[in-house]
Every structure is written in C-alpha cells, then in structure tokens.
Symmetry: C2
Subunit: 257 residues, 2 copies
C-alpha cells in the first residue's frame, strides 16, 4: 500500500509566519498523497474579543454558542483555510480547502449535554473515506479545517487533533497512514524545563510507566491517548514534534509496541 501522510499543524505554528512557511515548504515537497489539518483557536479567540464575545474555554475546549460558531466558521474555514491553500498553491501543491461538510466527508453530532453544555461542538460519527479518496486520486491535496457538520444543515466546531486522527484511521483501509502532529515543542519532553529532553520512542509499555512516574503529564496525556487510539485502529505511525524536529527526524515517534 502507498503511504498517506496526515499532518496536523497547531495554533502556535499558525501564529508564527516563519514556522508556518517552513512547514508549508516541507509539506509541499513531500511526495505521494498527503492531507493537512489545522485549527486556529487563538485567531478565533482574537476575533471573538474584537466582536465583544468573551471566549469561554473548559479544559481547553471551547464553549461554542451560536455567535461563536459563526466566528470559528469564519476564521477556520475562511481566513486560515484559504490562506493556507493559497500558500500551498504558490508552492505548486494542488491544495483544496475543506470542512467536514464539503463532500460530506466528516459527519459529527452535537455533543450531548451532561454537566457542561459545549454548544455547537461536534463529536465525529463517521468519515466517508471513499469521497476523500476520490479527491486524492484526482490529484488534490485536501486541507481540512476544524469544522464538521451533522448532515442536517448544522455546522459543528470539532477539535483538529481529533479530525486528523479520525481521518488517519478511516484512510488506513486504503493506505499505510502516518499521522504527524506539528506543535511548538520538538517532541514529548521528559523534563518540561528542558526543551532538549525529547523522548524519542514511546510505546504502550513505556508510556504507562512514564505516566505512572509523572514524567508525562497534563496536556500531553490526551494527545498521546489519541495517538494510541489511532495506532490501535491500524494507523502505522504517529509522530509528534516541531516544524524543525519533524523535518530533521528528531521528533517523538509513537508506535503501538
């Protein structure tokens, strides 16, 4: 099977024009089928504030009321998605920008209200991998923003990490899929104060040990749980690193065993 690379770029990378240009340069040069996924939470919060809407976050998740949904749709699917697409086109990469509603590729449902009402936040139900395959086979490079829909006309705000992992899992039927998370650290660190303390290899066994010993904490745990979930569903490799470590092979590589 061919290899499909799925790159998720985080908010801090989007915010740094030099980091963004470096990662788009590298992405455009990759051979073979590839997909880019982006968020843009900081830009959404900035626009919300300009419009007098106070961003509300609980555990890093945005409470998406109706005006906030408009904001994230404008920022993710409009401003950032089209900026990335036009920058990739400049680099001769035939990018096509998508939300999950386009081509009905990612269907989600509004998150059920338990103690917290997240509003128009979407949990992914299904990915139509055949629709996405058609675009890849026609030579397009899909660029997904963090918006999905419920198939009933409702757009939904959906975590970009989750989108990239759901796409990787769904495409594992068609390709050897490799999932890359690009953020502002060179990898998963064993000492948060030391940027050089990259853990090169993480597998299920040493992951549990490192969590138990308190080496891996907080923010990295959901990201890594997500990675292991993807690996359990036939994704070949997950890599976590910065623009520079991913380009030089000094990132953290996560494998099932």
């Amino acid at each position: 099977m061919n290899t499909l690379k799925i790159l998720k770029i985080g908010g801090n990378v989007l915010h740094s024009s030099s980091q963004l240009h470096h990662i788009l340069d590298a992405f455009a040069k990759w051979k073979g089928p590839k997909i880019l996924v982006h968020g843009g939470g900081k830009y959404a919060s900035a626009l919300s504030q300009k419009l007098g809407i106070t961003p509300q976050m609980i555990d890093g998740r945005r409470i998406t009321d109706a005006p906030t949904l408009e904001v994230v749709t404008m920022v993710y699917a409009g401003q950032l998605n089209k900026k990335i697409v036009s920058q990739l086109q400049k680099r001769n990469c035939n990018a096509i920008g998508l939300s999950g509603a386009d081509g009905n590729i990612i269907k989600a449902h509004k998150r059920a209200v338990s103690t917290i009402d997240y509003g128009f936040a979407g949990d992914i139900e299904s990915v139509q991998s055949e629709q996405l395959l058609k675009l890849l086979q026609a030579g397009f490079t899909p660029v997904f923003c963090a918006i999905t829909h419920d198939g009933q006309g409702q757009l939904l705000n959906t975590n970009a990490d989750t989108i990239s992992s759901a796409l990787s899992v769904a495409m594992a039927n068609h390709f050897t899929t490799e999932l890359l998370y690009c953020f502002d650290k060179d990898g998963v660190l064993s000492d948060p104060k030391n940027e050089k303390s990259i853990i090169n290899q993480i597998n299920q066994k040493n992951y549990k040990e490192m969590v138990a010993e308190g080496i891996i904490t907080d923010g990295m745990i959901p990201k890594l749980d997500n990675a292991f979930d993807a690996l359990a569903q036939q994704v070949a490799t997950v890599r976590i690193g910065s623009v520079y470590s991913l380009m030089t092979g000094n990132e953290t590589i996560i494998t099932a065993a």
Copy 2:
C-alpha cells in the same frame, strides 16, 4: 453534450432565509452537473462595520484594503460558503465549497491602479476547466464564493457575477452551459416601477434598442453586457430572474440572436 447549469445567487437572496431555502431546494433537485456561485457583500459590510472598518464602495465595487480582504475571505469563504454547503448536503446534494484558490481553479491578478486603487480586487485571468471537470466527474457539486487568488499566495476579492460568467465560458468546451442569475426581481423590467413588466426575451438587437430608448438603464447594463459577453463565448443561454420566476419559467431569457 450534457448541459451544465451555473447558478449565481445574489446578496438579497442570501439575506432572505425563505428565498435561500427555496432556491437551494430547487438547485438540489436539478438533475445533471451544476455549479453554484455566491457573493455576500451585505454580510461583509455588516462584519466590517462591527469591526470598525467603514466599507468603501465605488460604482458598486468594494475597495478591498488588507483588513477588508480578511473580512470578505471570512464571510464569503467561511460563514456563507459553509452555510450553503451544509444546507445542500442536508438536501442530499454533494456540495463542495471552493474559492478560486482551491484546486487552483480561478487565477486572477490584482486590478491595476488607474484613477482608483481597488486594493486586493482580482480580475480573472484564467479558469482551469479540467480541474473543475474532475470534481464534477467525481460527483461533487462545486459551490464557489467570490474569492480568487493570483497563484503567488495572494487571495483576491472578485465579483461573483464575473466568476459565474467566467466559469460558464470556460466550461462551454465540455458542456452546453446555461448561466442563471438569481436576484430579487422576477427579470429585467421594462418599467422599474412595475414589478410585473418583465421583458421575456432579450437579444443583441432589441437590447441595443431598449438601451437607446432608455428602457434598460443603470444597474442592469453591466449585468446584461456580461451576459452578452458570455453568449459571444459559446455559453448557450443566460437567464435572469428571481427564485420564483426562475422556478416557474417566467424569467428573462437572453440569447445572442
């Protein structure tokens, strides 16, 4: 050759939720390949004003400085495009939302500055009809917003009427193309005070007479010039009307001879 329908929906139609739903119902039911094109200037002006940017228009064209380009990209490619796509998906129409940058389908250049500097306004240079054909052949229904790019990473604000006519002309190599302009009048009126005074047939000859006699004036002239340009370049028919007249066949039909 198969017939390809290209429908442009105007700002007032987008602003009326009942008109929008009626036209999307009709559009979703059309058999065969089809493309939708939309603007959204009123929404862009509303967001500009909320952000403290005073919209500047000259002869109905927006002066697009850098902050205004961000606004139109967010509104056209984000808010409105994804709203229309999700509403079409609800109607089982496999819509895919696009700007001209996506798939490099519409390339434009920044309008040259003569007496007026329109800023980041784009004049269309070329349409890659093969890229668009690939999407149609794969079963997608493209939905274009009024944003293009220059191929060098610059997005450009581009008139939606011009986009729909450029797409119709470019696709005339592959299809019998029919261009439909949906706006808030039932057709071209012979008496602006009488909404029922629809001119049913306009051709090059009676058009010149009606302009000379002052029956057709002002705002309709660029629209009709645009229509005759398209007809001169192998577009089969141009229709102008409202949601209701286009659905019942009571619109204005424009043909070359």
